[in-house]
Subunit: 388 residues, 2 copies
């Protein structure tokens, strides 16, 4: 039987890998519609892939017997964002997650544990994974109307909460919606709750894309701990850039401690959602943050903003009705012909498409896209939205 045991991969399989490599190299060049930074260079730390790193458990709990972890680096990543999000230096906690879905799940989980009889409110522009999370956690919820720019409709929010004043309010705000990069104003939400005297409330801010640079916006939209958030989630693979989807959740240590008790009661000391955890992603994030520093991150945002302004202007010049939310790096435009959508990998919703001017996007790419748009003779396909 020994003879049949393979020790090497077949030539045909290696060819498939080479083909995948080529396809990816090609596809990577023409992503305009997805919030992915492609300009990372982790060649200096890629060799850590030789190790089976596992950041199992709470990064702040020492004493894990398994020593191949990067908890120390993970804590520094959390600290960086806690500071950027103006958390109380004595009262913050967090960890690096597998992405914003897990970060949001964790925020909602903390909220539910804090207020088991709470009602969740979120706008219709909220990322679809949030609905999935709420369903998973089994919490009642109400969807609030969005304004045309994608921001939550504060009036609808106030009226809806008013009808449910007897219940604790859990609000999931979005700081940078998927399609229009609209930002819900956390201070305004907090003000409405205060006005209705709802003391039992929890605000989780989903800042997947824009949370990373929210601190640099001028003028800024309130979203952070000082503004009233109880937890904030961001993606690591979006604006910072990482080969593997990852995210960060930052919350208050006091909230986490409350949870730790209920978790300890069910026989677990682990306050994170998963058990075994990716220890490479914290290292990637740490590396970029150390390389950039706060000012480097700011410059990264300003450069994206400049490209976004350029993109909006160029599209308007050729008669396309493009627009942006204040401080947004996302340019919204009417739906584009199928060939252009496919080539530039543009996400489309309803009759709108968008270009996200991630740090890797250059003015030359915008020019190439604008050229395609100006010279495309294909019509935008009009489809019935519903079958009957």
């Amino acid at each position: 039987m020994e003879a049949s045991i393979k020790n090497n991969i077949k030539a045909a399989d290696l060819e498939r890998l080479q083909q995948l490599d080529q396809e990816m190299a090609q596809s990577r060049e023409t992503v305009l519609g997805y919030p992915t930074s492609k300009d990372f260079d982790y060649s200096a730390i890629n060799h850590f892939l030789d190790y089976p790193i596992n950041n199992i458990g709470d990064p702040y709990e020492e004493g894990s017997t398994y020593k191949v972890h990067t908890h120390e680096f993970e804590r520094e990543v959390v600290r960086f964002f806690a500071k950027l999000f103006r958390a109380n230096p004595q009262d913050y906690w967090g960890y690096v997650t597998n992405g914003s879905s897990e970060s949001n799940l964790y925020g909602l989980y903390l909220a539910r544990e804090s207020f088991p009889k709470g009602m969740v409110y979120y706008s219709e522009s909220t990322h679809y994974s949030v609905r999935k999370n709420i369903h998973l956690l089994n919490i009642p919820s109400i969807v609030i109307r969005s304004q045309p720019n994608g921001e939550i409709d504060y009036e609808d929010f106030e009226n809806t909460v008013r009808l449910n004043r007897h219940k604790p309010a859990i609000v999931l705000t979005t700081f940078g919606t998927t399609m229009y990069e609209a930002k819900d104003d956390v201070s305004r939400i907090k003000g409405i709750l205060k006005n209705l005297a709802i003391h039992d409330h929890y605000i989780h801010c989903d800042g997947a894309l824009a949370g990373t640079y929210g601190a640099f916006m001028d003028p800024r939209t309130p979203f952070d701990f000082k503004d009233g958030a109880d937890s904030i989630s961001i993606s690591g693979h979006k604006f910072v850039g990482s080969p593997i989807p990852c995210g960060v959740i930052v919350t208050k240590k006091s909230t986490r401690d409350r949870i730790a008790k209920s978790i300890s009661y069910i026989g677990s000391l682990d306050t994170t959602i998963t058990g075994s955890r990716n220890g490479h992603s914290p290292l990637f994030l740490w590396y970029t943050l150390k390389k950039l520093g706060v000012e480097g991150l700011r410059a990264r945002y300003e450069s994206s903003l400049e490209v976004a302004q350029y993109c909006e202007m160029r599209l308007k010049e050729i008669g396309i009705d493009a627009w942006r939310n204040p401080g947004a790096i996302t340019v919204v435009l009417p739906k584009v012909p199928a060939s252009i959508q496919g080539k530039w990998q543009l996400a489309t919703e309803g009759d709108k498409a968008h270009i996200i001017c991630m740090p890797c996007i250059t003015k030359a790419q915008i020019d190439a896209f604008v050229y395609d748009m100006a010279n495309c003779e294909e019509e935008v396909e009009e489809k019935f939205e519903f079958d009957f």
Copy 2:
């Protein structure tokens, strides 16, 4: 301001990375107590780290606009295990997860969606993350007693379920418990449910460690689809080996389709738990599975089993009360002195420790460990278990 923007990482930070590298290289050599394969070599595909791969969404749903993914490879990984687990070739589905916690969460989620009024049963030896998952999903549950070897107590199970015959039964069986690598017999569980005429039932098998080689055990313990499981989860970073924690969930397509409907109702087409998903891990798993083939995986198990038998024998020779469950690669022994526990990174629970003879563990390492044990003059620390 431009002058203050860093483009490079500081020398001190680089030194920290070098130190981490050294520490990891050292720690990696003396892991005997954790189910981690360290013998992987992905140097041929590490360069895929240059790409921001994202396996967003269901791997079987084509048409994602984002093209930098490895869905095709992911499906082949799922197919490999579906076949190994004797799933119906016309009725299986699955995806690569971030680890067993997510896989188990998904299995329980499918169970809850199938039977919203169900009661979950699991043994006290079940991994702690399962309790966390059940808490997260908000499902009522009952813990069943374990036998001394860590296997579920079938009598206690039968008596408990008998008292709850009016409720659908969701059973989480473990195939390889954390401490003793005990395996719950799925056929026996299924038989008990049949005997009690509980038609509405769902069995999820947590095969984090042993599920990967369960098919090669001789005699085998029933655990797979033919034996009665509705879903099976395994870890990828454990027996197969991967630098990043990952897992696989395999379930029935028909169950997944039922869920897809309820998910579609809440406005999401994505049947996975997270949105953005790691696309590198499927590639790692695919690579090793292609390299090994089924027979290579079998040989990998047989070699581990041989080392485990050797370890048990050597420990017994020096008068240590070591034992193994049938077909297990885990050797259980009484708690060891603190210095040895630390050096060899042995997980300890109560008065027991264990050595898991993962494929990377050699007889020479076992000899070195046995030498340390025979020559250690330190006493095992006796502590009061409770403060008062």
